[in-house]
Amino acid sequence: MRDATATRRVAAVTGETPVARAVLIAVAVTFLGIVLIFPIIVVFVEAFRNGFAAFLAAFDDPDARAAIRLTLMVAAIAVPLNLVFGLAASWAIAKFDFRGKNILITLIDLPFSVSPVVSGLVYVLLFGAQGLLGPWLKAHGIQIIFALPGIVLATIFVTFPFVARELIPLMQEQGSGEEEAALSLGAGGLRTFLTITLPNVRWGLLYGVLLCNARAMGEFGAVAVVSGHIRGVTTTMPLHVEILYNEYNFVAAFAVASLLALLALVTLAAKSYLEWRYGGAIASAIPRR
């Protein structure tokens, strides 16, 4: 109730005319339509241009199946690792004071500000045949670049901030009062983490993981640099789409692309559903003072 009156008062103060409001809404909707909605529709239209059978045929291709498998595998490795890292980093940042905390916070944001191509290139320079550690790796028969480990590393790097960025503000807001209460009641550290800390951030964590997963499956730039584009071996779904497109195989390209777009839509839908279904629980996860 209080929120409603507050909004109304704000609206009265800002007081734009109905015309201005209509124009603003029209601009926003048009912009969204051109930049977001229309392209997504095109993806699906192109995918089904030659009918449903042609659409399905795109997934009969063993290379396409290999790309889907690889993408799933990369996500299955990168996302859990980033979940663990994100939890650890945000726990450390939110609940403890230490030297270099601000540097760590900045570092977590680094992947957002660095071009994905650079992110990939770093690993090539480190682990590639001519790279720093290249000769040593070769001598020990370890293949990182142009293989699964490189793709996973590049993906982890790029999706690094998602979980941590979601959790840090939440954990900072919540403080360590409940953890201290649990400890004072006799609970050990691990028990406190599992019964207090984790449940309190579960929705934020789920958001972070969903976004991290969507990005991990969709990453192109960084992965393109380290993958080497070996068809059916090191091409992930986004790379496969590019290859098909460059071969003028538009229907197949858009069919695989539509699968990626679908993934994005499902992620958004899941996020919205969670917000709607557990809105109260999420809101109550933020302390009221």
Partner: protein, 346 residues
């Protein structure tokens, strides 16, 4: 349980530091740590709890060194200022938490836990709210649930950080009385932190007054109010006003005029006289009394607080007058000092 705090120091490089605090807490007593913000009172409470590790000194629980005992093993009950109830758990689960995290061998059965939670909710006068979540409770209810949760583990000492600080005035008064009754009934050794002198004086058996990381005085409410050990204590536990005087062989003078007041404490030479507003009275202007001019009058619950500038200096003091006395601003009045207190510079 007796608690002895010996020369505790804690340095954060900020406010709330402790600089050598010693305090004996007796078994079963209700003791208040009173002080302004930044005085270190909350830090001291957290040191007792084991939530802060002191940089020097010792904490003894029943004559056993507990300085390095982790908080989980101290068997204390801590009620946090903002209660820190587990927001994702029901009231039942909150209160049962401390029982459920016990090692399996010491864990009560499901049935025992249920009975215990029920008994505690009765004790804090909130029966029937087991299934509610903290977000759906009022401030006073949360406070009492937090207390029940702390009591569930049968603590050896109960530590309360500003237990009534986040509540509004009316609820506060009720809970204050209730808290005292609860203490008398359960007999827990209890330490609570407050910045509210009324709360400390009304609730506690003894009050420890902290200032800038040191204990200024420890005593019963009567002792700290009636025989304050320092100007700080005198000013902090009650209204205090002061004026410069000269003291020679027990004879006080103000601006050359002799004072007929009882002076407690002995100092030679220039010093500051501290008095309660009730320790001076307004009289008709008279050559034998001090002369002053009324600068302002405020109505209080019990009378009038008159702000007077003493001639011929610029000294201003506050005097309590009866509500029936009509005083107007600018009026020339006589002031008679009945008693006051001087402190030798420490």
């Amino acid at each position: 349980m007796d608690i002895r705090i010996v020369d505790i120091a804690k340095d954060f490089g900020g406010t709330g530091a402790l600089r050598g605090v010693s305090l004996d807490i007796r078994d079963g007593e209700l003791i208040a740590l009173l002080g302004p913000s930044g005085s270190g009172k909350t830090t001291l409470l957290r040191v007792i709890a084991g939530l802060e590790i002191p940089s020097a000194g010792q904490v003894l629980f029943a004559n056993e060194d507990a300085t390095n005992l982790p908080v989980q093993h101290r068997r204390i009950g801590f009620v946090f200022q903002h209660y820190a109830l587990f927001r994702h758990m029901t009231v039942f689960d909150n209160i049962a938490y401390g029982l459920r995290v016990r090692p399996r061998a010491e864990q009560p059965s499901r049935q025992e836990i249920g009975q215990r939670v029920e008994a505690l909710l009765d004790l804090v006068q909130l029966p029937g709210i087991e299934k509610r979540y903290p977000a759906h409770l009022s401030g006073g209810q949360r406070q009492r649930v937090a207390l029940a949760r702390a009591l569930a583990v049968e603590p050896r000492v109960l530590l309360l950080d500003e237990p009534l600080g986040a509540l509004d005035a009316k609820v506060r008064k009720d809970l204050r009385r209730w808290l005292r009754e609860l203490h008398d009934r359960t007999g827990h050794t209890t330490v609570f932190v407050t910045h509210d002198q009324d709360e400390a004086l009304e609730l506690a058996d003894r009050v420890a007054i902290l200032n800038e990381g040191r204990v200024e005085q420890i005593g019963t409410p009567d002792e700290v109010y009636d025989t304050p050990a320092s100007p700080f204590v005198m000013a902090f536990v009650g209204d205090t006003t002061s004026m410069p005087i000269e003291l020679r062989d027990g004879q006080a003078t103000f601006a050359g005029k002799r004072l007929m007041a009882d002076i407690i404490g002995s100092v030679e030479g220039q010093t500051q006289l501290y008095l309660r507003p009730g320790d001076a009275v307004l009289v008709k202007p008279d050559p034998d009394d001090l002369a002053g001019t009324v600068l302002g009058v405020r109505r209080t619950a019990t009378g009038r607080r008159v702000h007077v500038r003493l001639d011929p200096t610029a000294t201003e003091i506050e005097i309590e007058a009866a509500a029936s006395r009509n005083v107007s601003v600018g009026e020339a009045v006589g002031v008679r000092i009945l008693k006051g207190r001087v402190f030798s510079a420490a």
